[in-house]
Amino acid sequence: MRIHLPALDHPRMDPGQARYAVEVNGHLGVTALSAFPAMVAQCRGPRTVLVGLLDQSALYGVVAQLEALGLELLEIRRLTLDGVAEPDDGCLP
């Protein structure tokens, strides 16, 4: 049985929140959207992009929720604050 409660102490909590865009295949209805209260959904053609301000554990929570609902994950991007995807500089040493 899963009951999500705020954890009491995170020894190494990452304080950094960032805006993420999570793209899945298909359009989500009200029921599926209710699983992502922290995200805003936009349709892009046959796909849905969920955008929200998340820290790392919330992001993994979103991924776990997608898995549980049998949704097909296509892409995850971190956005700059104005909603644009961060430039890809390749791999810097």
Partner: protein, 874 residues
């Protein structure tokens, strides 16, 4: 038991054949997203296979022990298809390594079993996953494992992959092809055009859950073609579209049932009636299962059901979205039902989910003792962590629960801290709760006192707890009799170790009987293991029998290296060492060291040092013996209160110093002893040993005379044996050979019933015995054994190649001793309370190790090696 595949599923021959091929590898991993048809495939495949051990991992399983108990239970059921398998039981002290070894050996015994683990992604215990990796890389020959998981897990199987021993089935392999889709629809009696079938297959991409949901909606649909067209024409996600369709097409009653019970991990008719407020739900659940509508029964009687995870998750979201105000009420009702039906953990979780923190805290305080006995300390820990910080303010309830697991896990100081908090707040708790909390606190203080060896602390709490139960609600009695069984165990233990009273046996027997009555095998085993130690003062045969009983009972429940067995293991080590079987003694000591976890009370470590010191003395390695006795003496001084073997430790320590020529140190230590200890028989013997080492036999004689004539308190008759021998040595030094012979013969007569050898070796009596004329003794055989031991042999073995004997495990030795009898293998199995398979494995190993082809050859070889003591009661 795997339920048979339900109707409406098609046999996917190609896939099953692929699984058959994969089963040639050691390990098969089926890794695919939710709803890919992993479980259905496993079920269909199970129908075609022989013996399968199927484990369904519980949702969000954090408890490594619960997982392994489930694995071992499945293996046992697979090994005994007749259904007479003893289910393993969790214990408060989980020994993972021993458990994995046991699973491995029972898998080997069962022969050719396939271990199937479904929903492995739900196992959220890194320890359990690491242990499982270990098992998978060392699977016995002929054993195969199949794991089903939603996502790839870090199992460290690269070595298997490199060796070509890993087969993988992935999402793409599980997709339904167009012909399979057609057969699925045909089987359900749904008529659809070729184009419709192709659309459906493409739209779902062959995803099993999608097709099954579509089938449910298509059944009885007035226009199947229109349904498929509408479905193909939408961009909605497959899962949500079809789930919503399915739900919408159900009757109001079914919808009500599905939504309101979606909060439960498992549901039965009664619970469903309670949550929906209507009768008749069991029939609906059965119908849904028969219609293959994502409802799975969990037991052969089909009383408990669960929803397919994907469906359950969707239904829960739908419930929270459409009926948010009902959610706490539903949790509260479920909590009430679970609480009434003794499913405490479920009750606590639902109370927490309803936000009823104080109810949850009470339940946890009331049941943490029983849950700990059931080996659920980890679960309690997780439940405690789920309380919000403000639930902790001045709560005796949570402090009691915390102290309970701290005691169980050996965090004694922490436990004491929580008990202080609990006591401080008892007065402010409601009056109806006070007595209950006081009882809980008292029983925890008792366990704490026992672990610390504090006699006074134990006696104080026992008085409070063992008073008869009167005038309290019915439900208290069962719980309090658990408390009483544990109280008796703690009391008996303290009496055996600290006070050496005969009451110890009575209390431990009573505790064991009560525990058996309450169905608490863990406490029963604990009492029996202590009983072996408590009866050490009686005959070795009784002692051995009791220790073996404790071990056999533990074996039956799938334990074997638990800390509770340590007293029995140590006692067996002691008995073997007393009888001069130093190899066996050492083996039992090693076994004990394995069984002792990291945290052990000073009491048990003290015994371990004494036992090791005895073996070292027996082997004539005196400096090492001195070190062990010294360590034991230091531990003894840390114990609160006295210890049954206190004077024994001191006596042996001083006598060993004397034999090493350190008489100055020994004499200095003598002056520091209080009168009580100094006047004990054991210390008097040490004094005699010092006098002998200093060349003063007359003084030695004077000292041991009091011991021999019964004027000094002694731990047991062995002290008198020692006194005779020291006296005999003194007589020899004084040139009185006749008196020396008489003393030696007196010692032999006392030692004969138990065939005790060690005191002769420890007192350096070899010369004394060698000068005893053979026609003057009635104990020639024992005498010969003693001299062998004194010259470095381990009895009963005589100059055998150590490899074979070292190679035989204690259990194999036990089986070996039945081989000269005319008992059949099933009868031997009955004698030892193990399965015939286990006996067969042991016999195979014995033959291999003794290089014997059959039973009589094995017996002959064992006799040559001295593994079957001649006429020795073993």
């Amino acid at each position: 038991m795997v339920a048979p595949a339900t109707t409406g599923l098609i046999d996917r021959e190609d896939l099953l054949a692929a699984l058959d091929r994969a089963a040639a590898s050691k390990v098969t991993v089926i890794s695919a997203p939710a709803g890919s048809g992993k479980t259905s495939l496993l079920r269909a495949w199970a129908d075609r296979r022989g013996s399968l051990a199927v484990v369904q991992v519980n949702r969000d399983e954090h408890d490594a022990q619960a997982f392994w108990v489930a694995v071992l239970g499945a293996v046992r059921r697979a090994a005994a298809p007749t259904g007479r398998a003893e289910p393993p039981v969790a214990t408060p002290e989980f020994n993972a390594r021993a458990m994995v070894d046991r699973v491995c050996s029972e898998l080997a015994d069962a022969g050719g079993v396939t271990l199937v683990i479904d929903d492995l992604h739900e196992l959220n215990s890194p320890e359990a996953l690491a242990q499982l990796s270990g098992l998978l890389t060392t699977l016995p020959p002929g054993v195969h494992a199949i794991l089903a998981t939603r996502r790839d897990l870090r199992l460290g199987l690269h070595r298997l992959r490199l060796a070509g021993e890993l087969a993988e089935v992935r999402a793409a392999d599980l997709r339904f092809t167009e012909p399979e889709t057609r057969r699925l629809l045909d089987a359900a009696g749904i008529r659809l055009s070729e184009a419709g079938i192709a659309d459906l297959q493409q739209r779902t991409e062959g995803w099993a859950a999608g097709l099954r949901l579509a089938v449910i909606s298509l059944l009885g649909h007035p226009d199947p073609e229109r349904f498929v067209a509408a479905f193909s024409g939408t961009d909605r996600t497959v899962a949500e579209y079809l789930l919503a369709e399915m739900l919408e097409r159900q009757s109001y009653e079914v919808q009500r049932l599905l939504l309101r019970t979606s909060l439960l991990d498992r549901v039965n008719g009664e619970l469903a009636d309670l949550l929906t407020g209507r009768p008749g739900n069991e029939r609906i659940l059965l119908n849904l299962e028969e219609a293959n509508a994502f409802v799975v029964s969990l037991d052969p009687d089909r009383t408990w059901f669960r929803y397919h995870h994907l469906v359950g998750d969707f239904l829960r979201l739908e419930l929270r979205r459409t009926l948010p105000e009902e959610v706490p009420t539903l949790h509260r009702r479920a909590a009430g039902w679970f609480s009434e039906h003794g499913r405490v953990v479920d009750a606590i979780q639902h109370s927490q989910a309803a936000g009823d923190w104080s109810t949850a805290a009470r339940l946890l305080a009331d049941h943490s003792f029983g849950l700990t006995l059931d080996g659920q300390a980890q679960t309690i820990q997780a439940l405690l962590e789920a309380f919000p910080p403000d639930a902790w303010t001045d709560s005796s309830e949570l402090a009691v629960a915390h102290a309970t697991i701290d005691v169980a896990l050996g965090r004694l100081d922490k436990a004491a801290g929580y008990l202080t908090v609990a006591e401080a707040h008892i007065e402010t708790t409601p009056p109806d709760r006070r007595r209950r909390l006081r009882v809980a606190v008292a029983s925890l203080k008792l366990s704490l006192a026992r672990r610390r060896g504090s006699v006074a602390g134990v006696l104080e709490q026992v008085e409070f707890l063992t008073s008869p139960v009167t005038g309290q609600p019915e439900e208290d009695i069962g719980r309090d009799s658990d408390l009483r069984a544990v109280a008796l165990m703690n009391l008996g233990t303290i009496e055996a170790w600290s006070l050496a009273t005969p009451d110890a046996e009575r209390h431990l027997l009573e505790g064991a009987a009560l525990a058996r009555e309450n169905g608490r095998p863990y406490i029963e085993v604990a009492c029996l293991a202590q009983l072996g130690f408590a009866s050490k003062i009686r005959s070795f045969a009784t002692t051995r029998r009791r220790c073996q009983e404790a071990l056999a009972l533990a074996e039956r429940y799938g334990w074997g290296a638990e800390t509770i067995l340590a007293p029995a293991l140590l006692t067996l080590a002691g008995v073997a060492t007393w009888m001069g079987d130093f190899d066996d003694g050492e083996r039992w000591l090693q076994h004990t060291a394995q069984a002792l976890g990291s945290d052990t009370g000073p009491g048990i470590s003290l015994l371990l040092h004494i036992g090791t010191g005895m073996v070292r003395s027996g082997r004539g390695r005196l400096p090492e013996a001195l070190e062990e006795f010294g360590a034991a003496e230091r531990l003894r001084s840390q114990l609160v209160g006295s210890h049954a073997l206190a004077s024994q430790v001191t006596g042996w320590l001083l006598a060993t110093q004397a034999r090493l020529g350190l008489t100055g140190e020994a004499r200095a230590a003598l002056t520091t002893l209080d009168d009580e200890r100094a006047s004990s028989g054991e210390v008097r013997n040490a004094r005699a040993a010092i006098s002998l080492a200093d060349g003063d036999p007359a003084a030695a004689l004077a000292v041991v005379r009091d011991v021999i004539e019964g004027r000094a308190p002694v731990t047991g008759y062995i002290t008198i044996v020692e006194a005779h021998l020291l006296g005999g040595r003194a007589h020899r030094q004084l040139g009185n050979q006749r008196a020396a012979n008489q003393a030696a013969e007196s010692a032999l007569s006392l030692a004969e019933p138990d065939r005790v050898v060690l005191p002769f070796v420890m007192t350096g009596a070899a010369e004394l015995l060698e000068s005893l004329p053979r026609h003057e003794t009635a104990h020639a055989a024992l005498l010969r054994d003693i001299l062998d031991a004194a010259h470095g042999a381990s009895l009963p073995a005589e100059d055998h190649p150590s490899s074979a004997v070292d190679g035989l495990s204690p259990t194999e030795l036990k089986v070996l001793r039945y081989l000269p009898t005319n008992l059949s293998r099933p009868e031997i199995a009955g004698e030892l309370s193990v399965s015939v398979n286990t006996v067969n494995t042991h016999v195979r190993n014995i033959y291999a190790k003794l290089q014997a082809r059959d039973r009589s050859a094995a017996v002959e070889r064992a006799r040559q090696l001295g593994l079957l003591g001649a006429g020795r009661a073993r």
